[in-house]
Amino acid sequence: MDHSTNTPVHQDGHDSHGAPLDLAKTVRSYLKVGGVLILGTFLTVAVAYVPWMQTGVHWADTTIGLLIATIKVSFVGLLFMHLNHERGLIYKVLFFTIIFSIAMMFLFVLAFLDPIKAALLN
């Protein structure tokens, strides 16, 4: 019942593509990603200490901080978790998961920001 009984092992790994892995090269690329992440962390901290009040854009530190975090997360997801070449099924699952969690946050906030108006109660 195992359809791939006789296939050599290395053909199944999505990233070996039949060729043996070049360890040094692969690890070098991972180290580069690690460098980018560390850089991002420095940047996030630096941004948080910019006196944004003076520039008149209060929301900037939150927005930029979360933006950098999102970029870092994409690096981890795409390169460390190999989402840059994953199977369709996993994309589908993650797509709906992310839709639902965003909907959850969005609707929580919406429900909070839209109470019954006091004018109607009086």
């Binding site: 195992d2 092992v9 070996s16 360890l23 692969t26 003076q54 901080g65 699952v93 969690s101 929580f108």
Partner: protein
Amino acid sequence: MEIPYTVTARPDTGLYNAKVGIWLFLASEVMLFGGLFSSYVFLRIGADYPWPFHELKVLPGFINTMVLIISSVSIVSAWAALKARRYGWYQINMVITLLCALGFMGIKSFEYYGKFTHYSVILHDGTVMDGHPGHASEEHRGDKIALGEVKSFSVNLAKSETAFLRHRRINDGGAKPFGEVPDGQTIKVRTPSGKEVEFTQSWLNKQKRDYRDLENVRAKLATLQARIDAPKARVEDMKRAVSGNFPVPFDAAKAEVLLAEHQDLQASSASKLKELEGKIKALTAGNPDAAASTLTLQVAGDPLAFRVDERALAKYNAGEIIFRDDVILKGKLLGDSIPLNADLIDLRSVKDPENSLAWKYYPGLKPAFFKHMEEETEAFKKKHPAHANDYETNADWKRSALRVSLEELAPETEAHALMHDESKAVQVERSDKRFYTNFSPSRSPYYAIYFLMTGLHGLHVVGGSIVLGYFLFTGRRMYKRNPEHLANRVEVGGLFWHFVDLVWIFLFPVFYLL
């Protein structure tokens, strides 16, 4: 029987089982942390107190971020090493990952410890004073209420337990006024009926059982009586309804029937009533101490002393303390003030800072506080001319002008003494206090969600390290048998580990920076 696709991928989905499983599990984890982050946002936009901003020390969080990034690189390299069939490299990378996990948890515990030993007292007018409750002496946690000369106490036979004895201390009036009770020392009490007994859980249980038996008979009697009286009560209801909010005409015929029914019931139940009353009498005579729910006991030997955490209590006053399970100790209140070496005064929630309760305890710091406030205001106006008139409602101004560390209010040596010298601790009166807590989840919803999210994240780190450690220490056998299987396992463990890292990448800015 063998499950297919545990090692090789299924051709049409291109995935082996464990990989499908871990991604589904991670999807559920996304929802878990999605729920937590949604709650964070909800709690933050709905906060009716100043949301803590830059209150956590950034450095430990920053180091931890680095540590996790390094571990992410090493775990993915460990997997690559296995794919390249280099077991030595695999081991080295796994060890690095596990060391990082250990370092992460170490730094985390250090952070937690600092918070758990740091206290905050919130006074009735909104004044907040943070500090240490003189933790040099182990007896002293600051939130205790001391009661001495306890010559009698009462228990509620319906619900009391002997748990209150945990809080008993020996009060010898010496340098350490509240010493531990030696093991095995019990209490002798005199009951209302004059018996002298040892107060133990088993004795109390016996009283409670007797009381319950008696109550059961009483309840039966009451039910029977109520049944007999029900028709009569119905007639009363009918009479009342004539003049009530919803007037109903009085039905005289029905009333007559009901009253007759009442008479019949009374007649037919007379013997049963008598039997129950007799039973009650017999039980009461058997153990008169268990006749009523409240049993008051006199201490037979030396008076007792207690030192109790306020949270264990329902309430207390100068002469007694009442536990949540209705044990009432009668004695003399020896002290209930909260000693505090404050290191920070926060008046953001105070209507009138001039008359804040803080100045009752630190009158000497008041001029410096307002001088500091004026300086901050000047600086703020200069920086933000647009907010020159409405600065008083500005959260940034409030944070810099109204939340001041003692280091800024007093010269260095004096501030150091106020913050660390136990003899300089102020005694905060309990009547001034609204809430007293350490920086644990109870401090505020901000700290609650901080501890919940970082705690859950920490549990993930621990769980992940256990699994990865298992792969490291038992992997060789599987590697020899089928290296691809081990590579798959490490890939799956690594995916989980990356996810943990990914959560931290959001947690760090959200809690430490924004």
